[in-house]
Amino acid sequence: MLHHKNPFQMSGSSDQPTLTGQVAKEKDSNLPITDRIKNLLAQYKVLLFMKGTPDFPQCGFSANVANILNRSGISYHAFDILSDQDMRQAVKEYANWPTYPQLWVNGELIGGSDIVTELAQNGELTKTIGLI
């Protein structure tokens, strides 16, 4: 993977916005995988499946989405799919979406880095998340 040499322009990596993301905590990680996913989605209104954590993203695209959420003042929880290979595979299949990060709001997939970037640029992100 090309995480150390990302060719894309990421918004704002130089200064540090206030971190609005926290690590998601599963109540029970021994359930069948689909139940784990459904429980996480039910538990958190705004959930980001990402590589790494909000304060230590492991991929430029994940960092980009975390940054956008931080800058927009949107509170969110993040699940590090690098920490759990079963979840890494299962969420892709559950979502029918091949890549991370994935931003989910109210149990629905909003999109990855490109879509979240575009929604933020055209002012629709906060509306999508229901803050306005």
Binding site: L2, P7, P98, L109, G111, D114, I115, E118
Partner: protein, 77 residues
Amino acid sequence: MHPFFQEIELIIKSGLTDAEVQISDMTGNLDHLEITVKSRAFQNLSLLAQHRKVMDLLAGKLKSDLHAVKIKTIVAQ
């Protein structure tokens, strides 16, 4: 146009017959492409659904020789 770009464009147009497609190579290695697609088929769809239409067409390519794409969709009227 690079033959690989032509192939990608043909794949997209096989599913979105009215599509206008623009492709650029972001790395010089042809493995990260920026693909802009304009189609009437995107009308009344969420951004995710618009991207899904393109991603579904490219699914086979993404499993083989295409590592990552940056997709931009434009709704044609």
